[in-house]
């Protein structure tokens, strides 16, 4: 891996402690490095600075210099350089560090300013926390507790504003709760490139709304809900469904494309309620597409496979595996893996291919990218299949070679790991010529035609890793238990490998990894537990010449673009 260049450092003093921070850091971020909380609402690390909420006010001073000689002025009381404190509070978000900057984050001036802002924010804010979806993850609640006075002096009538505006298909707005921080406005304009939100009316009557004739309907609209510091913008899907403090958070990775957006699954008692983005400054910053968030609905979909079947009849897993083993031993096997399967599953599938002498195939899934967080490659883990050696060339959308092989009678059994062979170009007539072993989660034309169906788990029900377009290996964990009748893919695959008589691989992620590390050069010396939550970049040199389909996205540039840039400079 290439080390990042060392940034220019600036030393500042925060609450009496000196700290060196990169040039350009603002006071909020600098204080965070010292575990000092500078409360804020409108500031967001990935958006432009608006400086309007006035919550992040701090006391600030700069070193004194003699105006005539430019020599530092020494304070006789301390023997150190004198600090000229500014008599009024300054905003932390809009103040970037300068050498010798002194900051107080909890002086009486700061405390007074924060209490004032907190009181102002609350006077027209409805006190409906008991029915507000934001309760439990509301900055207004948290900071009122941490920095407010704890009582109200307001006896006037509160402002009345629209309570349930549909800004778009997925976002509902309660304007009375809005504190006018403008995060959503800036997000739409700066990140989503869809400038649809703005304020109408003025002063305290300012109201968030869409521009005339526009809707907040881009595929990133739910990020406005995430960054709304209060309960003004709510997800229409999640609204009134569950209190957030009951929900368990499990790290996952968005499976809709090779970007590998880091996300969190929020679940309770085996039911998933929502997905939200997880910050990864190298991949998705703090954003996530809306389309990735509804994928949890696949888990409880009605077409979920939960019964093991042999030639159309329900059976036990052992009997089905026994029948599968017989087919595999008979030879003339072909294996269709999936770009949606984990590295671990692809590794076992590769072992199965080796043991049966089968060729491994993969089905490409491409569409145009959105230049942000959805890439042209809609498989999350094609690179995993390359790394594990399941494939050596990039996949095609149609399995043409397999079609020919079946047609010519070279293949008698096809193992499909979650791929619909019919959609991948194998006609019903071709499928009728072979025995199909389908290992997957949802019913489709292939499962309908399969001789053996082995129901397995959705990504949110199992652990594993994906390798994204940057060749970054990222972990995901099981958020909810599997439905009855479905078995972990690794268990199924390990048993199939064992049935070929070569060896018995481990069927659990942690136990399997030493074998992966030993067999896969790109993953050598790695262990599952050692991969950080933000992933690890792999050495992509062996695959650098492949014509990957992805164009530029948020933190990714195709090799060709990088080369062209290098040539220019």
């Amino acid at each position: 891996m290439i080390a990042a260049p060392k940034p220019d450092l600036v030393t500042v003093n925060i609450d009496g402690v000196d700290i060196s921070v990169p040039k350009g850091t603002n006071v909020i971020e600098a204080a965070k490095l010292l575990q000092k909380d500078v409360p804020h609402y409108c500031y967001h690390p990935k958006l432009s600075v608006a400086g309007n909420c006035r919550m992040c006010m701090i006391e600030m001073g700069t070193p004194a210099f003699d105006p005539a000689t430019k020599a530092p002025v020494t304070d006789p009381a301390t023997g150190k350089q004198k600090i000229n404190w500014i008599p009024r509070p300054q905003i932390g978000c809009g103040t970037t560090v300068s050498p010798g900057l002194h900051v107080k984050t909890s002086s009486s001036m700061v405390k007074d300013a924060r209490e004032g802002v907190m009181e102002f924010l609350l006077i027209n804010h409805p006190l409906d926390c008991p029915i507000c979806d934001q309760a439990g993850e509301c900055k207004l609640q948290e900071q009122a507790t941490g920095y407010g006075r704890g009582y109200s002096r307001f006896i006037e009538e509160k402002n009345v504003k629209p309570k349930r505006t549909q800004l778009g298909p997925r976002v509902t707005l309660d304007d009375e709760r809005c504190i006018l921080c403008s995060r959503c406005v800036r997000f739409s304009k700066e990140i989503a490139n869809d400038d649809v939100l703005g304020f109408v009316d003025r002063g305290s009557y300012s109201t968030l709304t869409c521009h005339p004739g526009k809707k907040l309907e881009n595929n990133y609209s739910l990020n406005t809900v995430d960054i709304c510091p209060v309960g003004a913008l709510t997800s229409t899907d999640f609204r009134f469904k569950m209190r957030v403090w009951f929900l368990k958070q499990t790290n996952t990775v968005d499976i809709e494309s090779s970007v590998g957006v880091n996300a969190v699954v929020w679940s309770r008692e085996g039911t998933i309620y929502r997905l939200t983005p997880r910050r990864n400054d190298e991949v998705n910053d703090t954003w996530m597409p809306d389309s990735g968030r509804i994928l949890y609905k696949q888990v409880a979909a009605t077409d979920r496979l939960t019964a093991v079947k042999l030639n159309g009849s329900d059976t036990s897993l052992d009997i089905a595996l026994h029948a599968a083993a017989a087919l595999l031993k008979a030879g003339s096997v072909s294996i269709v893996g999936s770009g949606r399967a984990s590295v671990e599953e692809q590794f076992l599938l590769k072992q199965l291919a080796t043991a049966t002498g089968a060729q491994g195939h993969l089905v490409a899934r491409t569409a145009s990218g959105d230049k942000l967080l959805i890439s042209a490659d809609r498989n999350p883990n094609v690179r995993g299949a390359l790394v594990t050696g399941l494939i050596s060339q990039l996949p095609c959308a149609e399995l043409k070679q397999l079609s020919r092989d079946i047609d010519e009678g070279k293949i008698k059994t096809v193992v499909s790991h979650g791929e619909d062979l019919h959609a991948a170009g194998l006609t019903a007539a071709l499928l009728a010529k072979v025995a199909v072993i389908y290992i997957g989660t949802h019913a489709n034309a292939t499962s309908a035609a399969a001789n053996i169906i082995l129901p397995t788990l959705h990504t949110f029900e199992k652990a594993g890793t994906f390798v994204n377009q940057q060749f970054r290996i990222q972990k995901f964990y099981a958020a909810v238990p599997a439905p009855q009748g479905a078995t972990n893919d690794l268990v199924v695959l390990a048993k199939l490998v064992a049935s070929t008589g070569t060896h018995t691989p481990a069927s659990e992620v942690h136990a399997l990894w030493p074998a992966i590390a030993a067999a896969v050069p790109a993953l050598a010396t790695m262990l599952y537990k050692n991969i950080p939550d933000t992933g690890l970049l792999l050495d992509a040199t062996p695959w650098v010449g492949l014509p990957f389909v992805e164009g530029e996205t948020l933190h990714y540039k195709p090799a060709a673009a990088i080369a062209a840039e290098a040539a220019r400079s």
């Binding site: 600075v49 608006a50 400086g51 309007n52 909420c53 006035r54 919550m55 006010m57 009024r88 509070p89 905003i91 809009g94 007074d112 300013a113 004032g116 802002v117 009181e119 102002f120 924010l121 006077i123 027209n124 002096r153 307001f154 006037e156 009538e157 402002n159 504190i179 006018l180 703005g198 304020f199 009316d201 003025r202 002063g203 305290s204 009557y205 300012s206």
Partner: protein
Amino acid sequence: MPAPTQHRLIFQHIDEPGYSNDIDCYLRNGGYEVLKKAVAQKPEDLREEVKKSGLRGRGGAGFPCGFKWSLVDRKSGKPIYLIVNADESEPGTFKDRYIMHQDPHQLIEGTMISCFANDVKQAYIYIRGEMPEGARILEKAIAEARAQNLVGPNILGTGYSCEIFVHRGAGAYICGEETGLIESLEGKRANPRIKPPYFPAVLGLYQCPTIVNNVETLCHVKHIVQQGGAEYAKIGTPGNTGTRIFCVSGHVQRPGYYEFPAGTITMGQLLNDVCGGPLPGRTFKAVIPGGSSAKVLRFGERYKGKRKVGTDMVDYDWGVEDVPMDFDSLAMIGSMGGSGGVIVMDDSVNMVEALANINAFYQHESCGQCTPCREGSLWMKKISSRMVHGEARKEDAALLKSVADQIPGRTICAFGEACSWPTQSFLIKFKDEFEGYAEAKKNLPADRLSLV
């Protein structure tokens, strides 16, 4: 001491019988001669004259104009814009309107000289939305000047070109704040910008260096170039050079606009000698000296301290009547010269009701960006309106003051000060009246006019 005589520099032709706002009349009176003289000089020399003149901005803050011009980033390679701030919105102020209505060519000449001095190729006059007549007059005047080759391409054959455009606001006080004005001119909501980094002199209109000057300020530039900076500086007093226009409104015998050498007239002379004193049978109670956002002065209070006269420090002990009407003296006694709008209140005025009126105005004009101003201005308005129209409590006085204290110095622009200073000063100086309002209200006539 009798009041000094008026020195009408900017208002020389205002209300002059027979003087019209067309270019022929202006030319007959020696108009555009200064521009002709200016374009023959070096721009940096003109800027130096303005610096020498000591001219301070007439929009309200009194910022030195020559210094403002010296802050302009002239090395960026970007065009420099000049914006005429004609958004005269501060209640009690009505000087720029008269210049634009009756002597628009004075403004255009001053603007063109300032543009030439700063190498500006494009200027905008941002005129308040409520002044459609002024906009029409300016449009006509610019067309006349263009026809005479005084505005537009290749002015007077010098090779220097500069256009002036009139842009009408949509009626918002905050558009007079220079960065709010710039946002509005760019077609956006007039939310003032954060400084740093958006200092207009560096990152102003369209992120280019921009000069924003008040209408009256630019008219003064014409006179500075005409007579020379040093000569101009002889008018008025050191630090407060040139003339000052006072717009006196309220309870005096002769309200109106009066122009005097800056710093030469006291409040007492202005109100008693020039404006004829209080209405019959009345006495002065309070005066706001620089537009409604300036802190109120109470007749009868004394201001004591030391001030600089020449190089010496001299004790002063003033009543309201003794205060010289210049930027520094008014600042010294805790108020400000502001825009020159002098609002006089006599003993018929109830201060709670006067403040309720002011609070209603500022609440309506807060842009809503910063929490303290947005919420504080409305809260103060709700309290003072309730006191007048509903139940008044004794503790409302302390509450009002406390709310106002949470606003200034904590907002992006100076509106935070503008909306809180009236309440702060009213509550400090007329605390008894606020605390006793519930009782006083019982004796008020039932048919009195209701407030907005």
